[in-house]
Amino acid sequence: MEFYRSHVLVCGGTPCVLEGCKAVRDALISEVRRAGLAGEVKVVETGCLGPCDMGPIVVVYPEGITYARVGVKDVPVIVEEHLLKGRAVDRLVLGTGAKEKGVVSYERPPYFELQQRIVLRNCGMIDPDSIDEYIARDGYRALAKCLTEMTPGEVIDAVKESGLLGRGGAAFPTGVKWSFTARATANQKYVVCNADEGEPGTFKDRLILEGDPHSIIEGMAIAGYAVGADKGFIYIRGEYVLSIERLERAIQKAREYGLLGEDILGSGFDFDIEVRKGAGAYVCGEETALIESMEGDRGEPRLKPPYPGTCGLWGKPTVVNNVETLANVPPIILNGPKWFRGFGTERCPGTKVFTLTGDVNNKGLIEVPMGITLRQVIYEIGGGIPGGRAFKIAQTGGTSGGCLPKELLDVPMDYFSLPEAGSALGSGALLIVDDSHCIVDIARCFMKFFKHESCGKCVPCREGTDRLYEIVDKVAQGNGRLEDLDLALELSRVMQVASLCGLGQAAPLSLMTILQYFGDEFREHIVGKTCPAGTCGF
C-alpha cells in the first residue's frame, strides 16, 4: 500500500462532470507531477460531494478544505499555494474562511454542519471505481459478517429492529418486506434494486450509484442471503449513463474478488447481479410496473395482491428495494440496529438523503437525520432564497408530493409528520419556489407531468390526469371557472381512492395543497382575470 501526505479529491458526479471536472482532474494530475509531488500527493476522482451547483468541487485532505467552482486556470495556484506551501487559496474556499490568517484550518461550511452521512458515507470520499478503497472503509465486512456469523433469520431481525423504512417513497418496513419473501417457498427468488429514479427533483440514487456503487452490490447480496435469492437485478434509468458504467465495472470487480458469484467467501452462498436498463417511463418506478418492464412488457402496474414479495418477477418471490434503502443495509448490519436508531426519530430512525432544487442558494445532495425541519434545510443548509426574493412554497417529495406554505416551514421532515401536514416525504426531493412565480403556472407544470406519465391502464388516472391539466390550463389561459375548482377537488379525491397505483393516487396531491393554501391566487386568475406574478399571458 502506498502512502501519500495529501489526497486531492475531485468530485466526479454528473453535475460536476457538466461543469468540467474531468479537465480539472487532468490538470491537477499534470500540475502535481510538474511540481514534483507525484509521490506525495494523490489525485482521486470521487462520487458526489453534495453542493452540485458549485461544481467543480475539489477537497484537499488531511485538512479537509473544500474548494468550489474550481477551473483549470485555478489548478496551478492550488498546487503551488496549498500543496507546495501549505496555504489555502482563500478565494476558492467553500465556507467561512480561516479563523486565523495564514493557518490551514477552516470552519466546515454550514452546508455540511447539519448533515449526518450514513448512505453517503463514501460519496466524495473514495474512488468509486476502486473496490479496494471501498473495502478499506469497511466495505463488504457486513456481507462477510452475515455469511459467517448470522443466519438469514438474524439478518432479517436486525433490519426489522433497525426500523428502516423503504426510502423510495412508500416507507414500507424493509425487514418486514424481506420476511415475506424469506417465508415464501419457491425454487427461485430474486432481489431487484429499483434505480428507476424518475420523480422530478430527485437525483439521489444517481449520485449514490455514481459515488458508491459497491454499497448497493453489498446491500443486494445481504438481501439475497436474507431471503434466499441467488440472483439480483438492478433496474436503472437508461439516461443514467455514468451510473450504469460504474455499476457494470463494480459488479465485474466484485466478481473478480469473489464477492459475487458462486460460493461467496467459501460460505456456499451464491449470488450474482445483472443490470437492466429502463427506457424512459416514470411509472416504472412503481414496483409491479418495473417488474412488467423487466419481463419485456409495457410498464403497466399489476393488480395487488399478490405482492411481489410472494409473486413478483416471472411469478417468483421478489424483493424490490430502492437504492438508498439498500445503501443503509451494510452499516445497519455492521453497527447494529441500536446504533441506527440513534439517528432520526423514534418512528423514523436513520437519515434521509434529500435533493435541494429550485430557488435556493445551495442546490444539491444532502443527508440529514429524519425529523429535521424544512426551515433548517432551506435556510441553514440551503442558504435561503437567492436574489433577496421571498419564499413562496416548498414542494416535498417531488411532483407527486404536496406544496407547503411558509406557515408550515417548521414541520419535521419524516414519513409520518409530512403526511399529517398534507404532504409527503416521498423520495426526498425538495423544490423551493420563490414569490416571483405564478402558482397557476407551477400547478400546470405539475399536472402536465402526470398527464404525460400516466400509463393509461386505469381510468381514474388516465382520465383524471388529463382533466386536471385541462382545468388548470384553462385558468392559466384566463378561461377558468370557479366551479371548475370544486370539480378539480372532487376528481382529485376520486383519483386518490380509485387509481390502481401510486402514480394516480399521488398525482392530485400537489394541486389539492395548492388550492388549499393558494386558492386565492387561482380565484384572482378566474374572477379578476389577473396573474399577480405576470406569468400567465392574459
Binding site: Y240, G296, G299, T399, L431, C445
Partner: protein
C-alpha cells in the same frame, strides 16, 4: 419532401439487414429481452422501423403488436425517423422554475423548428422530456447521451456548435 439524412434513416442504410439479424441472434426466443433488443436496434437504425419490429417479433416469438406497444410506451424509443442528434429538454418542475422555457425558445429559434420536429438537414430533433435527474444544475438538457446543465439562452449557440 424528405431530406437525404431522413431518407437514410427511413431505409436504415446505416443499419444493414444482416446487422439486425446478428443483433437478434443473441436474443432469440427470449421474450424478456424485448427492451434490450429494441435498444440495440435503435442504436444502429436511429429509430424503430416497422420492418425491424417484424423481425424482432419473429426472433423473440412475440406478436408484432406487442413490439409496437412496447416501442411506443417508452420515451427513449421512437417509431418515427429522427435527426442524427436528439435534443431532449427537461420540462419538469425544477427545470421549469429555473427557466426551462427560455431554453426551449432559444433552441427553437436557433434550430428553426418547433418541439417535436426535426431540422431540414436531418441533424437535430428537438423533444421535451420528463425529469433527467440532474436537477442540481437545472435547467438541463440532454443531447444524445450528454447532459448540459445550468443553462441560459446565451449558452445554447455554443453548445449546438459542437454538433453542427
Amino acid at each position: 419532401m424528405e431530406t437525404p439524412e431522413v431518407e437514410k434513416c427511413r431505409t436504415g442504410s446505416s443499419g444493414q439487414p444482416d446487422e439486425i439479424d446478428s443483433i437478434l441472434e443473441k436474443y432469440r426466443g427470449r421474450k424478456d429481452a424485448l427492451i434490450p433488443a429494441l435498444y440495440d436496434i435503435q442504436k444502429v437504425m436511429n429509430y424503430l422501423p416497422e420492418s425491424a419490429a417484424v423481425k424482432v417479433a419473429e426472433a423473440l416469438e412475440v406478436p408484432v403488436s406487442k413490439v409496437y406497444g412496447v416501442a411506443t410506451f417508452y420515451t427513449l424509443f421512437s417509431v418515427k425517423p429522427r435527426g442524427k442528434h436528439i435534443i431532449r429538454v427537461c420540462e419538469s418542475a425544477p427545470c421549469h422554475v429555473l427557466g426551462a422555457m427560455n431554453v426551449v425558445k432559444e433552441l427553437e429559434r436557433e434550430l428553426g423548428i418547433k418541439v417535436g420536429e426535426t431540422t431540414k438537414d436531418g441533424r437535430f430533433t428537438l423533444e421535451l422530456t420528463s425529469c433527467l435527474g440532474t436537477c442540481g444544475v437545472a435547467p438541463a438538457i440532454m443531447i444524445d447521451d450528454v447532459v448540459y446543465g445550468n443553462l441560459t439562452a446565451d449558452k445554447i449557440p455554443h453548445i449546438l456548435s459542437e454538433y453542427r
